[in-house]
Amino acid sequence: MEPTPRRFGVRARPPSPYVRWRRLWAELQAENVPRLAGVFFTLLLVGGPVMYLVERSTNNQFKGVGDGLWWSLVTLTTIGYGDTYPITTPGRLLAALLMLVGIGLIGTVTGKIAAALVERRRREGRGLGESRLTGHLVVVGWKADMLELVEGLLGAQPGLTPEGIVLVNQAGESRNEELRRRFPGLGYVHGDTVDPAVLQRARVHEAKRVLVVADETGERSAQETDARTVMTVMNVESLAPEVYTCAEVLDRTFAEHLHIARCDEVVLSREHARALLLSASAATGMTPLVERLLSPAGGLTTVAVPEGFVGRPLGELASHLRREAGVLVIGLIENTGQTLAIKREALRAAQKTEDVAQLLDNLRAVRALVPNRPVLNPPDSYPIPRHALAVVVGASESQP
């Protein structure tokens, strides 16, 4: 059996047509369009019959209320066929009134509808629009190598398309426009990343995952940048506690804050780079190996534990994967997935005891549960817990 690499398949769903129309309706409502339409129809339904009453005795063009309505429609819409027209003085006065009002009304309504549609496009271009996606990936913050980051995201996550990504940053229109030209369909929300309203526009509550990178816009110190990252994560977690959140920090001291803010995964990017430099300076020769391990094309990866191996010793899984897929199991990552969901499940399981002392121990264990806990090279007898992923090194390209 081929083990399937664990993939965070982000499949964004565009909003239903119903949702789109409701939004447009709300925008038109804000522009008073429904009220103007109401006035239009009132004039149409009142003007027509009145014209019929005024004209019917002297003008044989108006044989019924229907003729009056037809005339008022033709007049108000400024079509003006001229197939029926008033000939009495009161009739002509009424016609003059309807004509003048009709020009204004129709012009205003069509103008406003057009403006709403144009404005929406313009706002989306400038990142002032609102995302309408669900199940998408939100990338908060801006980095100099944003292009490579987006490219990497698309490459690493099969099924993810530019339409499924929404960027949230303050880098400005031109820089984002460049990205959007390279990746058509890429979503973009402009605004301060610590502002909950901005995050709401990116619909983090409907997102599948949120990635918060160490923002490089503005001249900020590492501490300031990290503090803002923590604030952003706190906002994301309060808006969307169920969404998987990962964040990049520069300074290790802020990693703890992120854990408190219930960030699911924290990346210490600067520390990784430093460790690599230190290792290289000591001439360990590790750099190419680390590069190989981190490359998306094979190397270090996680695979889901196949059904039936949960609860079994790790050694059994290791020899199974070695035999079937030619990969080397070097350990486990425990408590993977959305942290809150795992903790809730653990809390339910903890209650299944009659012994109060045991219950307290269980509850303490739930509180001490560490998300994404790495267990490197455990003994073969180590039992595989639920919610664990096997960490494997892919098959080597060079054959013996």
């Binding site: 339910r348 209650q351 009659e354 002392a357 307290l360």
Partner: protein, 162 residues
């Protein structure tokens, strides 16, 4: 089921260990026989009950619900096991659900019959009541210990957050 078989069934119970065979004879006479099919529910958590069950044949499962609403199996009782004993002393709300795991035969005695048995055979009644009292005392001790444990945990929890 003959009187001899009934007495043998009670004698085989660890619960009645040390009680004179004669007293168990009288108790066995006061019991009624009850059978259940695998999957039958004998006692329901939260309902009122007044009967003690002795498993003569078969096996039952004790189930409880967590405050979160999950059902879990607490333990199993085999042949010779006794459950529901506290209901002989007082009206009780059953603390767990008992489900037959296999086809079962029980000796069952309810509170009314138990009291009548005690009135008729005071010596035998006293012996069994003592055994119930021991069971009750040990439960009470455990409950007290748990209260202390909870108390300490609660204080510790508040202390942590001071």
């Amino acid at each position: 089921m003959s009187a001899v078989e009934r007495r043998a069934a009670l004698l085989a119970c660890p619960f009645f260990e040390g009680i004179a065979a004669e007293a168990l004879d009288h108790l066995a006479g006061a019991c009624t026989l009850r059978t259940a099919l695998a999957g039958d529910t004998l006692i329901r958590e939260g309902e009122e009950g007044d009967s003690l069950f002795v498993i003569v044949e078969g096996r039952v499962r004790t189930e409880k619900r967590t405050p979160s609403g999950d059902l879990w199996t607490v333990r199993f009782h085999e042949k010779g096991g006794v459950f529901g004993e506290l209901s002989l002393l007082d009206r009780v709300i059953r603390s767990a659900t008992i489900v037959a795991e296999a086809d079962c035969t029980f000796l069952v005695i309810d509170r009314e019959r138990f009291q009548a048995f005690g009135d008729r055979h005071p010596a035998a009644g006293l012996a069994v009541t003592r055994r119930l009292a021991e069971r009750l005392a040990s439960r009470l001790r455990k409950a007290n210990e748990e209260a202390v444990t909870l108390f300490a945990a609660l204080v510790h929890e508040v202390e942590r957050r001071l």
